[in-house]
């Protein structure tokens, strides 16, 4: 054959042993997340009473639906090689506005919250695409602006939601025993997975992250794609804000600080590269569950009364865990590279 001098000797079919090893390495990245999750659940079940009790499971999914929502949006932005630091601020603003709209009904509350997030997303998209401002800077600015707006509107107070309407049901109720926010976000994850892994649109999103110029020259309308992912991220932040207000019975202008870092961490733990071009919705879900579970277990550990970990210590432990996990993951990735060059 004329062209067989690839960097991989014997770039043959799937049965090629090198090929299999590389494929295994790739799966190992995602596998590490799920294996760790499984071990943690096992550990928690053995160590803590009621860890797998109905109440803990319900509240775990109820609470983490908020973070799952912003992480899904963040995943799409990061896959295109961008970053969205405004999700926390957008969610805080959305929660305040959703609470204010809640007297008009459930849907108005949700729509206003999501709309608020979308406005922040549009602003981000405009700055990044039209004004050519670096995503880091643009979204940092809108993060500050939206947090400020939330504080202004609410006068630095939490804004109670209306109990006349069923708005809090949206945050606290259940469908067939599962928390409503978790069901909703679960459906969105399935949709997100479909788009990124199965639809032509997903190939374009990944292509933009892999090489923006190359994609444009291949006829991908890169500006639209980038515009789209920032709006999507804003919408998800808005949804998270609406859920927050409904779950806690109040719009929370001071919440949302550091959420963007949680979302970035969840996406990265899932194996998505910050440089863009690679990434997976499923792995992002794994990342969210992993970080959420860690938090949950630290609470149980405190409950046992052996030691009392302050919030500060919890932060240190979470950070340390994240670091160890990412280092291990990087080692696996290097092993994968090595397998490729055998």
């Amino acid at each position: 054959m004329s062209i067989n001098h690839t960097s991989v000797p014997g770039a043959g079919g799937a049965r090629d042993p090198n090929n299999m090893r590389a494929a295994l390495g790739k799966n190992a990245m995602g596998l590490a997340v799920w294996a760790t999750l499984l071990l943690m659940v096992l550990f928690g079940w053995l160590r803590y009473d009621n860890f797998l009790g109905a109440y803990n499971i319900f509240s775990f999914f109820q609470y983490n639906a908020i973070f799952a929502a912003i992480s899904l949006g963040m995943c799409f932005v990061i896959v295109t090689g961008g970053i969205d630091l405004s999700v926390g601020g957008a969610a805080a603003l959305a929660s305040v506005l959703a609470a204010m709209a809640s007297p008009y009904g459930v849907m108005p509350g949700i729509i206003v919250g999501v709309g608020a997030g979308m406005c922040v997303g549009v602003l981000n998209a405009y700055c990044v695409v039209q004004m050519r401002i670096a995503p880091f800077i643009a979204t940092l600015a809108t993060a500050l602006a939206s947090t400020g707006t939330a504080l202004l509107i609410s006068n630095n107070q939490s804004v109670g939601v209306s109990y006349e309407t069923l708005f809090i049901e949206f945050g606290q109720g259940d469908w067939f025993g599962m928390p409503i926010p978790a069901v909703l976000v679960g459906v969105l994850f399935v949709g997100g997975w479909l788009v990124l892994s199965r639809l032509p649109l997903g190939r374009r999103i990944l292509a933009v992250g892999g090489g923006e110029d190359a994609s444009r020259l291949m006829g991908v309308r890169t500006d639209r794609i980038i515009f789209g992912v920032y709006i999507f991220s804003g919408v998800m932040a808005g949804l998270a804000g609406a859920i927050l207000a409904a779950q806690f019975g109040a719009g929370q202008p001071t919440e949302g600080t550091g959420w963007e870092l949680f979302a970035i961490a969840a996406v990265v733990v899932g194996g998505t590269l910050l440089t863009g071009g690679e990434g997976s919705v499923v792995a992002t879900l794994g990342g969210v569950l992993l970080l959420g579970l860690l938090f949950n277990m630290l609470n149980f550990e405190n409950g046992k009364g052996w030691i009392s970990l302050s919030a500060y210590w919890q932060s240190v432990i979470r950070g340390g865990f994240l670091l160890v996990f990412i280092v291990v993951q990087a080692k696996i990735a290097q092993g994968r590279e090595a397998a490729k060059h055998l």
Binding site: H5, T6, A14, R198, L199, G210, M218
Partner: protein, 506 residues
């Protein structure tokens, strides 16, 4: 009727005209060679045709209709696809995904991966490429990626396909596949634009030629009516005899080897390389791709460790642990990939030129800019580097002038030996001759030069002696009248026999 008719195209960048009153006309089923020196405006013209850049004025008519593509997407939708010189694909995505990006076959709205992979494999098979299309593109080498880009263009069923230097990373066999693909496209009535610096290749496949010079169209001909020489004359606007071997008037002043390598072996593939370079001498290093030319350069420069053998400078053995040691000993290496290893695109010409010299230009951490500029000016004049000023960004220079800046960077270091690896790659014909004459001048001033080039005619034109490598070993040392293309080629062709004979004797 013409497929594409471009007339009166003008484009200026920041007041500097890149194109003025350019015309280009394409016929269906014919291939048009678009040639011109670097900076003649070919790339700009293509970017305008493909919607990647807007035009200031002029008209583009496609199939009798005025068109003005605002983006590559629109041009692609209208049936114009381009295979760029810098291969524009997505390394993280699979081969099949790259071929079908934007046109994925779907079932119920979802990508039909099986169909897509099968069709991708089939499209590549037409070009004799048999690879696993479900692997990331980044796993494959440049030639394969190039073929993937071509398969993509064919798959799009375009009316116009533009090949921008598409053959530069292909070997001879692959070029044949490329040409047969181009002929198939022509038979289907597709109009082709083929941009290449390799004139021989144009004659093999093109029907017409459009020649550009200084942002203007200076010739539109049927290719078979022009000789290669006429073509080059129109392109350069002057008569030209770059590649005739001129006898060196003076023999090297010094005959003792300044640099000598004995039986060099490395893990990078050198098995037994012997060579020596005297002051004022140009030693050509000839051999096939993979014979160990670049590896020899790296070994001499301390970038690869020797596992056996020795290097001597002026009869004294030396050992280089790293390139910095080699530089201190007076050896410089101008590497083959300018863009990756050489230039810092956003820095000025003067800064690039004095980059390696920086430590000696710095006093208490502050750069002596006055001396830096003096040195830059000296070399800009000496090497005839064409710049608007020494503060111009190097990325705005043509390939030939960038290469001269890199040469100057080493010369400013007061070296005794300079290794130049593929100094004329990607540089147009006129500038090539100039680079070669600069190298000759430097040798005349006493520099020992080791010249690596895959263009045999270059080696023949300037080298005083030629060392021929085969499979990581020195198999011949030619000098004087022995240096002819024929001789070198037949030495390489009999490489196996020479080695067998040597082993038999030993």
């Amino acid at each position: 009727m013409s497929m594409i008719e471009m007339t009166g195209i003008c484009k200026a960048y920041g007041g500097v005209p890149a194109l003025s009153d350019v015309r280009l006309s394409l016929e269906p089923g014919r291939a048009m060679a678009l040639i011109g020196q670097n900076g003649a405006g070919k790339s700009t013209l293509i970017r305008i045709l493909t919607g990647a850049t807007g035009r200031d004025s002029g008209q583009v008519v496609m199939d009798g209709q005025d068109v003005d593509f605002a983006s590559p997407y629109e041009a692609l939708e209208s049936g114009i696809s381009t295979i760029y010189q810098e291969i524009n694909l997505i390394p993280q995505r699979t081969v099949a995904e790259n071929i079908f990006l934007g046109r994925e076959p779907t079932r119920l709205g979802m990508i039909a991966y099986k169909t897509m992979n099968a069709r991708a494999a089939q499209a590549l098979a037409e070009f004799g490429v048999d690879i696993d299309v479900s692997r990331p593109l980044g796993d494959f080498n440049a030639a394969t990626r190039q073929m993937v880009a071509i398969a993509r263009a064919v798959q799009l069923e375009s009316k116009v396909v533009i090949f921008d230097e598409s053959s530069s990373s292909l070997d001879r066999r692959e070029v044949e596949f490329l040409f047969s693909a181009m002929r198939k496209l022509k038979a289907k009535g597709v109009a082709i634009i083929f941009v290449s610096h390799k004139l021989d290749k144009l004659y093999a496949v093109c029907d017409d030629v459009t020649i550009m010079r200084d942002g203007r169209t200076v010739g539109e001909h049927v290719l078979s009516e022009l000789s290669k020489k006429q073509l080059v004359e129109i392109m350069l606007g002057k008569t030209f005899d770059a590649f005739t071997r001129s006898a060196r008037t003076e023999a090297p002043r010094e005959t003792a080897a300044r640099l000598r390598a004995k039986d060099m072996q490395t893990n990078s593939g050198l098995a037994s390389v012997n060579l020596h370079v005297a002051a004022g001498e140009i030693l050509g290093l000839a051999g096939l791709l993979g014979s160990g030319r670049t590896e020899t350069a790296h070994a001499l420069f301390g970038a690869d460790k020797l596992t056996h053998g020795s290097i001597e400078i002026q009869q004294k053995p030396v050992a280089f642990d790293r390139p910095a040691d080699a530089i201190v000993a007076g050896i410089g290496l101008c590497s083959e990939d300018r863009k990756v290893d050489g230039i810092v695109p956003d820095m000025s010409v003067a800064e690039n030129l004095t980059l390696a010299l920086l430590p000696s230009l710095t006093h208490w951490g502050i750069v002596d800019t006055k001396r830096r500029d003096e040195i830059a000016d000296v070399f800009i004049e000496k090497l005839n580097i064409k710049v608007a000023s020494r503060t111009q960004k190097i990325s705005q220079l043509s390939g030939g002038n960038q290469q001269k800046v890199l040469l100057a960077r080493w010369l400013a270091m007061n070296l005794s030996i300079l290794i130049v690896d593929e100094p004329t790659r990607g540089i147009d014909v006129g500038a090539k001759a100039e680079i070669l004459s600069v190298i000759k001048d430097l040798a005349a001033e006493g520099l020992g030069v080791l010249l690596i080039s895959s263009e045999m005619e270059e080696v023949v034109a300037v080298a005083d002696r030629v060392t021929v490598l085969w499979d990581g070993q020195t198999i011949a040392d030619l000098s004087g009248p022995q240096i002819t293309e024929d001789n070198i080629l037949s030495t390489i062709a009999s490489g196996d026999a020479i080695l067998d004979h040597a082993e038999g004797a030993a």
